[in-house]
């Protein structure tokens, strides 16, 4: 190695050192600690004195598999993901298609308006939505009553609490994916549309045969990102429902938070975190493999 190359190499290390050390010390180390904790029964007694710590191997993981609330949390989270992701991606796609249409006017205005919810603080808008969803004085029920629907107790009824949260999450996030999809739409060459039009394709057929195939990879990306985000559902139940009613909105991370920061069962909480990670990893891998098989990615 030449002296200059050595100098560059050293400089390279010096430049990345601060960031990498921070990530190493304050992220990687805690992650490994969490893994270690998940094999112990660290709880409030251990917080007081480490003598009260016991090594339990896979005990926490097995305990979780026997805990009804864990399965409930898993179910709630899957419900949120399975319903929320298509809704969210669909809404974003629809909005992006509208914005991309040649007939659309004032595009910057519309785009900013639809993106605004994304940059708002979740706590602040959750407070707003809590009142919008109020059973008696909320505007949503008022609007529904206009079309003859009886008032729904959104945040008090176990059947409607998760749908309310899904609705809220879709509203908050659809602008994000919309922007990504819009950028993807804008990369589709105009000639493809031209060719389709010459062949006599209607708008709908153009959509189906030109837009969608070209957009495939971007839609996949957006779906994976949204899924990853939705698996980490936490702030919405925390602010709006505290996991209720009847634990219908306890998500996996909310369950972890309660175990960890309410009861200080760090062993169990860490086990929950890793189980979630494994689940997300598996599903993402499955998605990628599936799409590679279908020739999308």
């Amino acid at each position: 190695m030449t002296a200059r190359a050595l100098g560059t190499s050293t400089a390279g290390w010096l430049f990345v050192a601060p960031a990498v050390s921070v990530i190493g010390v304050f992220f990687a180390v805690p992650v490994f600690l969490a893994l270690a904790l998940s094999f112990t029964d660290f709880d409030i007694y251990a917080l007081a004195s480490l003598k009260n710590l016991r090594f339990v191997g896979l005990g926490n993981y097995l305990l979780l598999l026997r805990t009804p609330l864990f399965w409930r949390a898993l179910g709630n989270t899957l419900y949120f993901v399975i319903v929320g992701v298509p809704l969210s991606v669909g809404a974003s796609l629809g909005a992006a298609l509208l914005l991309n249409a040649k007939a659309a006017r004032w595009k910057p205005v519309f785009r900013t308006a639809m993106f605004a919810p994304v940059v708002t603080s979740l706590v602040a808008v959750a407070v707003i939505w809590r009142y919008l969803l109020h059973a008696k004085y909320g505007l949503i029920n008022y609007a529904l009553s206009g079309i003859g629907v009886r008032p729904i107790d959104w945040l008090g009824d176990p059947h409607w609490a998760m749908p309310a949260i899904i609705l809220f999450a879709v509203w908050k996030n659809f602008g994000y994916n919309m922007v990504i999809l819009l950028a993807g739409l804008q990369t589709i060459p105009e000639d493809l549309y031209e060719a389709a039009r010459i062949d006599g394709a209607s708008t709908f057929q153009q959509l189906r045969h030109v837009t969608m195939p070209s957009l495939g990879p971007v839609i996949l990306l957006v779906t994976i990102l949204t899924m990853a985000g939705y698996f980490q559902l936490f702030a919405e139940p925390y602010v709006m429902t505290q996991g209720g009613p009847l634990q219908s909105t306890v998500s996996v991370l909310y369950f972890m938070y309660e175990q960890g920061f309410k009861f200080w069962n760090l062993g169990v909480a860490s086990a929950v975190a890793f189980m979630l990670f494994l689940l997300m990893f598996a599903i993402t891998m499955a998605q990628l493999l599936l799409s590679r098989r279908q020739g999308v990615a």
Binding site: G12, P30, F110, T120, S121, V127, Y142
Partner: protein, 273 residues
């Protein structure tokens, strides 16, 4: 221009979509100006009958909103400056400085993206306790100071800097730091704004970690204070809306001013183009 059916449909739908997106925010502003109790009626009102600034007065005079606002401002600014420092240096190095193990290290960092941040939260809290950093802003800032996303963003952008330019400077005898500050930074300026906007917004809106780390009321940021306030004052709709206004409007304004950069950052790495 004669309105054709397609134009009407498309723009009509866009109006509806934008309206639905904005409506809760507009309603929030409206209610924040209502007198206490005015919104707890059926049918719910859309506009205040008597416009009042009382809720804001209550927030700032008695609930200490001014301090929370300044805390948020200070914290977000500090986070932005630190993140810019750490991430830009690292991003540039990953893009343009050949060092041993560069690619492998970067792949390891990318792998870290897969792990949800909450996994690290609890042990990190205990680590901070042993360092005496609980209930301090340093403790709050630590996780946001360096992030793989930021490094990735800068790296993407920095890759477009022509290497010849850098080589020429090296031949002229300039040191790496000099090259970085004199040549690279000015070229990276747009992505700096993007990263700054991103970090500022994210730090301002973050509430979970500050909620856990900060025990002293006086250190609370706006979202944390609002979360606390909303549990105490469930009945005081109008006051809560005023709190939301104070929390949302500044960053919304910032976003509108800098949206070009924010959106660019969003797209980097997602879609080429």
């Amino acid at each position: 221009m004669r309105p054709n059916p397609q134009s009407v449909i498309v723009n009509g739908l866009l109006v509806v979509a934008a309206g639905l997106a904005l409506f809760p925010l507009l309603w929030m502003v409206s209610v924040s100006f209502m007198t206490p109790g005015e919104s707890n009626v059926f049918p719910p009102p859309l506009l205040p009958r008597h416009f009042t600034l009382g809720n804001f007065a209550e927030l700032f005079r008695r609930q200490g909103m001014a301090r929370f606002f300044l805390n948020s401002l200070g914290l977000a600014t500090a986070a932005t400056l630190l993140a810019l420092t750490f991430n830009v240096m690292a991003g540039y190095a990953f893009a343009k400085l050949a060092f041993v193990g560069r690619e492998r290290l970067f792949q390891v960092l990318l792998a870290a993206l897969v792990i949800p941040g909450q996994v690290a939260m609890m042990p990190l809290f205990l680590m901070l306790k042993t360092m005496g950093l609980v209930n301090s802003y340093i403790g709050v800032l630590i996780p946001s100071v360096a992030g793989v996303f930021g490094i990735f963003l800068v790296r993407q952008y920095a890759q477009s800097i022509p290497s010849e330019m850098l080589e020429a400077a090296r031949v002229d005898g300039a040191g790496e730091w000099r090259i970085f500050t004199a040549i690279v930074l000015p070229v990276l300026r747009p992505i700096l704004v993007t990263l700054a906007t991103f970090t500022f917004l994210a730090t301002w809106n973050d509430f979970m970690w500050p909620l856990i780390v900060l025990t002293d009321n006086s250190l609370y940021t706006l979202p944390v204070a609002l979360a606390s306030l909303s549990r105490e004052h469930v009945q005081d709709n109008e006051l809560m809306m005023a709190g939301s206004v104070v929390t949302i409007l500044p960053v919304l304004a910032l976003f509108i001013a800098l949206q070009r950069y924010y959106i660019r950052g969003l797209l980097a790495g997602s879609v080429k183009g």
